[in-house]
Symmetry: C2
Subunit: 228 residues, 2 copies
DNA sequence: GGGACCATCTAACGCCGTTAGGGTATCCCT
DNA sequence: AGGGATACCCTAACGGCGTTAGATGGTCCC
């Protein structure tokens, strides 16, 4: 371990962009977004925090690197089927991939990183839609809409923060606390919330996600038959 | 100013939950989410940071307070019209309100605070949908879907972070940098992205938002005629 | 007048992102 | 072969952060 230290250049640098990403994802998965610090990532690489600044300008830039790597490589996606099936499969694969990394949605949140993975996904979806007969504007808007929905959904699904319930509660526990809060709201003021608490709460995330994706796609289909 | 200080209880406490919210929103609007610290909020109230912990358990709890206050009071919304018009108006009002506060979407992001404002909005939307003939599950799913979309959209619209472009760039500048990145991507690999760069980028946010909301509502409408 | 308690204070801990500046191994040029 | 340039990592430090412990002093009730 403590051999080639003390300011050496060991032929192949200890820190590369790839290593940064790997280490960052490791810390993220193990400790979560709030604990993702430059010092922790550096430690993961057996290195001092300040050394990271040789490879990266900011923490922001590190997060940008992580962000693109969290947009999975969509090349693995099977693309037989019509535009609707393909889009639906993509949405589900995207969500599924994001949920393999703790707090991934918070890394992505409000970040647009035109890295290779994003470019490929966008290009593929745009291609499907244009081929299907959507106008250019429709194709572009639809693609972004879908991305917005999926990211927004996963962000809520991973339930990053809330002071409800026990302090370091799991997403599921917080979700239950929210449902319970809905259920016990004043019935006279909020009858619908109380009546539908079990649906409105965070339960049955899979169903909710599928429902939203299907609604989006059906909404798109109405643009198609109208001529475009 | 420096009169009734030094550990006094000045009859009406200097810090109340309302004052906390006001001060928090002031700091947020003036300096943005990243600069929203307990110390700054305390300074806004002419008080030491530690004093806030008498009224609030965490910074998380303070953010929860801010979150509910960022869900505007929907009682002001006019509700004549059918379910589709009402829902559309609500979505636009929600977005509009969020954009009156800098970084509001980041406060809301991944946070579910069953405060009075959220409960009212939810209950109203659920009521519209049930009255229109949607099933309970559909009403609940649809409501959450709409909320997810609006929040996700505003989160991207406010473009919180990115190391693209100049460091402290405005959202618009970053948006242009993203569009430019799309436009100058390798044409042979990403022909659709390059061709539609102007649409795919962050330009014309109003159009994009309206498009998405309309698609969602059309998607919902298909559930209605099918019988529910 | 005196105790209880409310609401604020001061002081400090350990963590954070980031910068400045030092030092050594490797490469290139002569 | 020698020497300067460069790449890559180090140590040390700064100021800011969230949070806690404990002191302090007004205000209220008996």
């Amino acid at each position: 371990m403590a051999s080639a230290r003390k300011g050496a250049r060991p032929r192949t640098p200890a820190i590369t962009r790839e290593a940064l990403i790997t280490a960052g994802l490791a810390v993220l998965t193990r400790e979560g977004f709030d604990a993702l610090s430059m010092r922790k990532v550096a430690a993961e690489l057996g290195v001092q925090a300040a050394s990271l600044y040789w490879h990266v300008q900011d923490k922001e830039e590190l997060l940008d690197l992580l962000a693109d790597s969290l947009l999975w490589d969509a090349r693995k996606l099977k693309t037989d089927g019509d535009w609707a099936e393909n889009l639906r499969a993509m949405a589900h694969a995207y969500r599924c991939h994001m949920n393999t990394h703790r707090d991934s949605a918070r890394v992505l949140a409000g970040r647009i990183v035109p890295g290779p993975n994003l470019l490929y996904v966008l290009d593929t979806a745009l291609g499907w839609l244009r081929t299907a007969g959507f106008s250019n504007a429709d194709a572009a808007y639809a693609t972004r809409m879908l991305a917005t929905y999926v990211q927004g959904f996963v962000l809520q699904e991973q339930l990053p923060r809330s002071s409800l319930g026990p302090h370091g509660a799991t997403p599921e526990a917080i979700g239950e606390a929210v449902t319970e809060a809905f259920r016990s709201a004043p019935v006279d003021q909020y009858p619908n919330v109380v009546a539908l608490a079990d649906f409105v709460g965070s339960g049955s995330a899979d169903d909710q996600f599928a429902y939203g994706v299907d609604r989006l796609i059906e909404g798109l289909r109405t643009r198609l038959v109208g001529g475009g």
